[in-house]
Symmetry: D3
């Protein structure tokens, strides 16, 4: 039995509110249960220096947590003067996940900067971020179409992400904080709408895990991402 | 006529939602129109080193803006590796404002850390922060009472804040971004529920201002803070 | 009775020595009693990026204290690797105060950088800095005239600053360190030679203050700034 | 055909020299072809603060590259004043990999700090680091045994790591720089001597990859790690 | 002929004003011609961690330049967020020079921190700093004697410093900025009152120099330091 | 008797391996006994901003130590976020030493960046670095000749460096760590192949030293540098 009372293959309540932010070209407030992330997408009319004169653009991401989004307060990274290794790992992951489904040539020499800020955390902030970031980026591309900065949507597929874990010996989907703290193994999967794998990160917290356990988690991830993909489609109309 | 269409002495729609954050000992989502600030209060069971063995506690504040809370995106301070002068000014102001209505001896050798994070900005983020911080701090003190960490509420008064400005020659209350950008003079007032003045910051943006103009702004501030005080009382029951 | 033995409306001995620094285009050693600040003004033949092609220039300020200018030694900010919030607040204030009396169009696309370094501190370093900075900036503009970089003085007025406080219930002018440490309220006023108000910063240290107390401090500030203005005129010939 | 001329399941020449460093309690110079990493293990007689009074110790890792270990020179991180996101990701990975095969209770309240410094880079520096770090840590534990700081070896298993990729559609083992730059998918596997999985990181560089491709890479990784495990056993006697 | 018109073995006008700073336990304003350095000595009642329980104390130094002490303005190190290599070199040199004539056991487990701040620079700031620092430190030790923190003066000798150079082929003493910029070789000598050598730093700016040239500079340095030593004795009474 | 058993004028075993690094334009692994430094030289096709349009190039150096190159582990500078004063002193010294024997006009508007990384330390890392850096830089210039970036070798002389000290009252050559820790005086000499002096740094660790002691150290340094110069010639063919 999971602490959350959910079935092993059951997602938390999923909510996505596109256009949540007044000023941004694209945005989405995404909720995986009590994990709430505000994602905004900002269109910048220049690309990073290494892409100049290539005709290609870039999509990048930044990630942050409000200090008291967590159970105990985490020191503010701006006050400490640097981003933690965890923060950098996550924002690099989000950027890679988005770029995997974008044809950067169709973006032109511009950059879209996606900010994922965790308002409240209860496990799975990186997977919620990626899933919501797709929606915010979609809106930003629509805005670029309207501005005639681009002539077609640059997406090659959609993208979503979900965590799985081995909890008391059983593979379960979409870990919340209580489950995550106690899981023996923790894995994050980034999948495309068509079922391609973009990224796998799987880590043994205590004991090494087996290939079979891994494959059962992958199977759960497919179930979860299919539902997230459906929700993304729905909110994007 | 103000760009917002409001009367000179009219506040924006004011909303305060105490207890907005799941994990914090106290919290408040405060909205001054389109300016939205999430305030959390964290109780720490130790005080800053300079207060050890004095029997006194401390209340301090930190302030941040989400990168795309503003019209254009502002670089993330955590990524730049330092907080701007403006950020530091504001968080020092919030801390002073709260401490002015708290008897620190009644807090004991503990610290309450108040985080004000701007989710969306449309002018007046520092005054919204102070007004909401009072509510979050009130909740945190109530939590301390329940935990029997303290035996009575440490407040000596309530506190709220509002901005005023001279806009096209006329003093107006509670500037939004469009008004603020065009105002000749910008002033922030921090007042107590009983009408005492805690802080005045008044700055000529272009032309120096006169004593009379200043006094008319102070009068407007009293009108605004009375309404905020009433709203604080209401949400705190 | 004030610790300094001064009357309530009495300034400390005021001394301003223009041209104190050998290398700078403008400079002033300003003394408010035992508070000594060396101000230099450096003319830079380029303006900040955001003013390019506007025809306008900029005046900015930096502030620092020698580590042992104070009663106890303060850690060197260069060694700590960052400027404190207080330092940043003060240097932003000095810059705003100077710009309020300068027509930036007449400066052209250049920048004057004013450095205020506290050699010895005994209260009122920010007001001494502003008062001396006007003199140093005046000299720098004279130098620019001689170099034919500008064709007329860009000042629209003069500017000076003074602190006031409520000390044991009585409003007093130009607080020294002993008075400042014990004052219930501390206010800084920046006024122009013609009597316009450029900036007011007034803070309750313990108890909130009343409107009447505030107005009595403002009245004292006018008395003090009139004398500083006269002294500025005298040393500038 | 691979640029290196190797068969798809062929490792580069593997060399491990334990005890390479004169001063360290444990060390290993590990070479995966032209990728050379010097690993040292330092025993510290105190543990991180969060483990005090738990009876448990810690194993942590740091990673760095000499500026000209790479094809073009990379700016020195010490001169830039911060470690890149990539560096932090890698050193966190190395630390997790080692801790997965150590019983931290048997280490006692001490810390072993493992430094992995890349002398020359040609792809696969993180997997070479992990594989060599096991050897250096083994030596450090032996040193602790001799010093009677511990009474038995704290390892629960051995650990090694290898990269795989999809190169021109074919899964290949142990990518060098030329192969890595051109691979469609890049994966790193951390496996124990007994075959347990400690960590999987698999990333699509351009196109998403399929489950089948992933499983073929995992199979190659098992072949590679078996050989590294054998080599570790041999050099450790 | 030297640009300054001085004879080859002629010092600039030397002035030392002990007790210049109101707050410090020891201080000295030292002038070598137009080079003016304010030195303060602060007594701290604790020693650095590595000396605890050794019975020994420490003397350390910090160095800084006011931004416009130089011909052109130098960026403020506090604003840049780090001290330059030159600054660190100089402050390490000053500390070593002072410790060479102090019996640290007689200081007890305390630290004296010497701050050397250049008010105006015209060459030779490090040698002026050392020469003035001896005077400030002497005063601080006298203050400690009065406070009965120590029972005898901890000095084993006095210390002073001077620069020499090869200017247009001729060795000259005490270079000012114009001479220093044009000198082929630049050397700094730190000597004790009894004639012992504490430190030599000699650098070829363009051409290597010969042993004979070096020895002629050393001879000049002895002449200069004898005069500085005499001046130190005189001002210390 | 020296701890190392060497005669007073005897160098440690000296080894220089040019071309040690696969990727760099020039490189040398230099060993002074157990002190091992890997030097690489990187040719950059642009010069520092202050040399643009002068026709001159630049040679600069950076220095680092692997954390466990030393007896005890030194914190990684990249992790601490800054280079120590000692590191900066040494890298400035290496740069000056190389530039003293290079005609920068012959380099053209380019920069050669020399990295000296200490793999293992046993005293004398800065002198080993300089001696090896000459070899690496020589190779880089040869590479530039082959690339027809330059038309003749820019060297005016060769350069090498060695440490000397007063150990138990006796001047000795090429101190290892044990000798260095116990020496009363420590000196570093940078000499050219033709015998010119480029830099002298001589420091009393406890007692001041005499002119005679200094001259005896200088004599030893000439003996040592002659041998290093011969070794450099030999390895460069």
């Amino acid at each position: 039995m999971r602490p959350s009372g959910r079935a092993g293959d059951e997602l938390r309540t999923l909510e996505m509110t596109p256009g949540f932010a007044k000023h941004a070209e694209g945005s989405c407030l995404v909720k995986f249960g009590d994990t709430h992330v505000l994602v905004t997408a900002t269109v910048e009319d220049s690309c990073p220096p290494w892409l100049r004169n290539t005709g290609k653009g870039w999509v990048t991401a930044e990630y942050g947590m409000l200090p008291r989004s967590t159970h105990g307060r985490m020191p503010r990274e701006a006050a400490k003067g640097k981003q933690s290794g965890r923060t950098q790992e996550i924002q690099r992951l989000i950027g890679r996940a988005l770029r995997a489904v974008v044809d950067l040539r169709k973006v032109g020499e511009r950059q879209v900067r996606v900010d994922c800020d965790v308002i409240q955390a209860d496990g799975g902030t990186r997977t919620a971020s990626i899933s919501g970031a797709y929606v915010a980026l979609y809106q930003a591309f629509e805005w670029m179409l309207k501005q005639e900065m681009i002539t077609e949507m640059p997406f090659t597929d959609s993208v979503s992400a979900i965590s799985c874990g081995i909890y008391k010996g059983t593979p379960v989907l979409d870990l919340d904080y209580d489950e995550d703290s106690a899981a023996e193994t923790d894995a994050n999967f980034v999948l495309t709408g068509k079922g391609g794998i973009v990224e796998i990160q799987s880590t043994a917290e205590e004991e090494p895990f087996s290939e079979e356990e891994f494959l059962r988690m992958l199977r759960l991830a497919r179930i979860g991402c299919d539902q997230i993909t459906a929700a993304q489609k729905k909110v994007l109309g």
